[in-house]
Amino acid sequence: MVTKRRAGRPPEAYLPLPPATFHILLALADGELHGYAIMKGVAARSEGSVRLGPGTLYGSLKRLLKAGLVEEGGERADPERGDERRRYYRLTQLGLSVVRAEARRLDAMVRAARRKKLIGERPA
């Protein structure tokens, strides 16, 4: 499998990530997933506030594959769904670094908001 990787580009260069992209990378941090599992994971994690359609999902995946943040992990049937073979995706090392960098960036922003008492210590 050959994926395009932009050598020498630091993870911070990809930030800030669009919300849909961050959610996809966050979902893939759990391991290899197929498209529908990513969609379900994103919807569950955001408690339904972010709902990716197939077009948005695969459009984002195409860009992430091209950027080398995600790679394909082969095709196989989902044992839970037991139907046709599905294409699986996983994070690359660069993708993992980027999602960590974005999480740190968001965390710093949340801490700054807390210091200013804009939000409480714990999420409501």
Partner: protein
């Protein structure tokens, strides 16, 4: 019409490459959605249509930018090729001129060579105009190509025995470039085909040039007659003559008969003579006929 059929129709909004890559996966996800949701509700279809409307234009735009970039790179390569072929065309015409000037040359030939140089210079100019992308856009390149075509057509009328190289570069290349220039930003089949034509002409022209000699006689051969002569008529032409050939210079030519055909011997070179009628012969492989009196 099933829900899946409608969704497959909606997928046509995406670029073909994207559909080929992800269409099957998207249909699988749609099936999953249909199993877990009521596909008969307006809300379900509103979400589906919203997803397509939101993502398809961006993907179309990305695909269009990608293809435009590729086309522009190819056009630049074609322009560089045109510049090189323009220079080669001028050099070829000069060689033709030098070869022709060794013997007696007529005005038509001179004009044809001058037009050939002019057409090649215009080709060169068109290539430079495409490369520079002036503020007037591609119009100067189009005008130069049209003018080059007209010049070449005039040269062809004056001097029908052009080499294959001259035909390829003089007619094929401007026509292919013009098509490409009129369809430059839309990735159409015709535009792509013309780009391929430009490259084919470009790649085949040097090979044709290597084969072609100044004053290529292949086209002339199609119109050359070889009228039969009786033995008495043949005999009447046998002898030594002082002849001035259009491209071969003046010399003494000895005409003799061998195996029922007339041949001319000049400067240790023997050529068969083809009778054109009215006392005119054309040495085999020579473009101009000579009248033997």
């Amino acid at each position: 019409m099933s829900a899946e059929h409608i969704y497959r129709l909606l997928l046509r909004a995406y670029p073909p490459d994207f559909r080929a890559e992800y269409g099957r996966e998207m249909v699988l996800i749609f099936r999953d959605q249909c199993q877990e949701n009521d596909a008969r509700t307006i809300g379900f279809w509103a979400a589906v249509v919203w997803d397509v409307a939101r993502s398809a234009p961006a993907l179309r735009a990305a695909a269009w930018r990608e293809s435009t970039r590729t086309m522009e790179v190819i056009m630049k390569l074609a322009a560089i090729l045109t510049v090189l072929l323009g220079v080669l065309g001028i050099a070829g015409a000069v060689v033709e001129w030098v070869a022709g000037s060794k013997g007696a040359i007529d005005g038509r030939y001179v004009l044809a060579v001058v037009l050939g140089v002019f057409a090649s210079a215009l080709l060169l100019g068109a290539g430079v105009a495409i490369l520079l992308q002036t503020r007037w856009g591609r119009q100067p390149a189009r005008l130069a190509l049209f003018a080059s075509l007209v010049s070449m057509a005039a040269a062809r009328l004056l001097f029908p025995w052009m080499s294959i190289f001259s035909h390829l570069v003089g007619f094929g290349l401007p026509v292919a470039l013009l098509i490409a220039l009129y369809w430059p930003r839309k990735p159409s089949t015709l535009g792509a085909a013309s780009i391929v034509l430009v490259l084919v002409f470009g790649l085949s022209a040097p090979a044709a040039a290597a084969q072609a000699k100044p004053g290529d006689t292949r086209r002339a051969a199609a119109t050359v007659k070889d009228l039969p002569l009786t033995a008495a008529q043949r005999q009447s032409f046998v002898g030594s003559y002082s002849v001035t050939l259009p491209l071969g210079g003046g010399s003494v030519v000895r005409i003799f008969e061998e195996n029922g055909v007339l041949k001319a011997l000049s400067e240790a070179e023997t050529r068969r003579l083809l009778y054109q009628g009215d006392g005119v012969f054309r040495p085999d492989g020579v473009m101009e006929g000579v009248r033997i009196q």
